[in-house]
């Protein structure tokens, strides 16, 4: 039994260890995550909500970090193309990946209450859509890097 438990811990999609990043020093732009506090706003790519700011334009070279302000878990996970009508994330979103917004399928991983993500650099101009594994479509945002 203990062996199976240990093996399951390595199974893709298994619950992940807490993301224990600290607030970044040196002026990272922090995007708040809260399904409770932050409502809807509009963007050229559709309605965005539950991130603050949910529609953000930054100059190339900026650093971005996500902060979970709710009492339960959230992720910020990249979405390719446009916002889908339904939740299409898979459990890889629960594991932190990527440190650049241009990285394919970047994700903050599962952020515990008051947790901070790794920092993401924005070296490549472009439009980056993202959402929460648990609460999409009610949680989604856009970052434009100029």
């Amino acid at each position: 039994m203990l062996g199976s438990i240990a093996a399951a811990g390595c199974t893709p999609g298994a619950a992940t260890a807490p993301n224990t990043h600290q607030p970044a020093a040196g002026g990272a732009i922090v995007i708040g995550m809260s399904l409770i506090k932050y409502g809807q706003s509009s963007s050229p790519f559709g309605t965005v909500q539950a991130y603050n700011p949910a529609f953000l334009t930054v100059p190339a070279g900026s650093t971005i970090q996500f902060h979970n302000e709710d009492g339960f878990k959230h992720t910020a996970t990249m979405i390719s193309g446009s916002f889908p009508s339904a939740n299409t994330f898979n459990t890889t979103a629960l594991t932190p990946s990527g440190t650049d917004l241009a990285t394919a399928a970047w994700s903050s991983g599962d952020l515990d209450p008051n947790g901070f993500s790794q920092t993401f650099s924005s070296l490549h101009p472009g439009t980056y859509l993202y959402g929460c594994y648990h609460h999409y479509p009610a949680m989604r945002g856009v970052i434009i890097v100029q």
Partner: protein, 396 residues
């Protein structure tokens, strides 16, 4: 049956348990769980938003429940206020008092929010007849929750707020004995839903709740027929319940509860009446971090006239549950129970839970009494699923 034979059966049950747990963990890592379809439909969430494995709630599910099933900042997509739940339970080892190895149960749930800001809501749970018991309304309440302060008022038939809910969010098959023990003819336990008022405040720091009850649920709880009694039982005075649970740093919660009441018991045969004043006090605590959960509760009780002849009776009960979430949609649990009402019983309850499909949950459980060689260990399994099925893409 010889001791050797019993031991062989016990080993076989544990091997079956381990194998199923492993299979479940592997399967559920690829197929996450389902949700109460009413809420998944309402906000377009995936099922895993609220549940580990339905009906067990995760942190967001509990937060959503405490907020009155309302997210003021999130637009609603579709409201369909009715859902059905079916469960089939298989009991491998029947107690002498049991004669049904397979027990089916259907539950109808209806809930909706209303008012300008949707801060009013109702919730009903009807349990269809099962195991020879009549169908009955198990929950039926209306409430208002202030979305800013968490202050709420509820009226109707509801469960007392406990650190581990005995029914609505049951994470296994067998109820905690500490929540269901009774003294003499009195059904004054903590598991039975109460009819009355419940009010308090629930936010990120405190969950403080008070209930004043005039009566309680009298039907069959989840298919278990109510045993006949010579005594007609009624509340002599309104029963008062209070509890507080404080959120502490590092995933800890701790608090207390208190219940006080008096009941009258009238013999149907002789018409004689007696009264029993009772109280229950409790301490409760939990800890959650990453994959691990630990929950414990200890209760102490006293009945002033437990037998109708003026004799008082003390009682106590408690449990500690340890849960390990191998994946977001499966868990393994071990619960230790102890009750003295006044005779002491103790047991271990080992269980594995996973979601075999998008809308179902499978539980395998091994309930083993300890310190009593004549008590039977019981292995059971349960498959549960919820309707209506919705878009599987949306309900990952």
């Amino acid at each position: 049956m010889s001791n050797n034979c019993l031991r062989a059966h016990s080993r076989a049950a544990l091997l079956l348990f381990a194998a199923t747990a492993l299979a479940g963990i592997l399967i559920s890592s690829a197929v996450p769980a389902s949700a109460v379809p009413i809420f998944a439909e309402r906000y377009g969430f995936s099922c895993s938003a609220c549940h580990t494995a339905v009906p067990d709630l995760n942190a967001f599910g509990n937060s959503f429940r405490k907020a009155g099933f309302n997210l003021p900042n999130v637009p609603r997509q579709r409201d369909f206020p009715v859902a059905l739940r079916f469960q089939e339970t298989y009991v491998k080892d029947l107690l002498p008092s049991q004669n049904r190895r397979y027990n089916a149960l259907a539950i109808l749930i209806s809930t909706e929010n209303f008012g300008a800001d949707k801060s009013y809501s109702y919730f009903t749970r009807y349990i269809f007849g099962s195991q020879g018991a009549a169908g009955s309304l198990y929950y039926a309440w209306a409430q208002h929750v202030n979305p800013r302060t968490g202050v709420f008022q509820r009226i109707g038939l509801f469960s007392l707020p406990l650190i581990a809910n005995p029914t609505q969010r049951l994470d296994t098959i067998t109820l905690q004995p500490a929540y269901s023990y009774t003294i003499g003819h009195s059904s004054a336990n903590l598991a039975t839903p109460r009819l009355g008022l419940l009010f308090g405040q629930r936010n990120g720091f405190i969950d403080a709740e008070f209930a004043v009850s005039e009566d309680e649920y009298h039907g069959a709880a989840y298919g278990a027929p109510t045993p006949p009694s010579d005594f007609a039982q009624a509340f002599a005075v309104p029963e008062v319940f209070g509890s507080a649970l404080f959120s502490l740093p590092h995933g800890f919660k701790a608090g207390f509860l208190s219940l006080r009441g008096s009941r009258s018991f009238q013999s149907r045969a002789t018409g004689a009446t007696y009264y029993d004043s009772y109280r229950r006090e409790g301490a409760q605590a939990s800890w959650a971090q990453g994959r691990f959960e630990l929950t414990g509760q200890q209760l102490w009780g006293r009945d002033d006239n437990a037998d109708g002849f003026g004799n008082p009776s003390g009682s106590s009960g408690g449990f500690v549950t340890f849960k390990y979430h191998a994946t977001p949609h499966s868990y393994i649990g071990l619960r230790y129970d102890a009750v003295a009402n006044p005779f002491a019983t103790r047991d271990y309850d080992l269980y594995a839970v996973f979601a075999p499909t998008a809308h179902s949950r499978f539980v395998l459980e091994h309930f083993k009494p300890v310190g009593n060689s004549s008590a039977l260990a019981v292995t059971s399994a349960q498959l549960l699923f919820a309707l209506p099925f919705t878009d599987p893409q949306k309900n990952r």
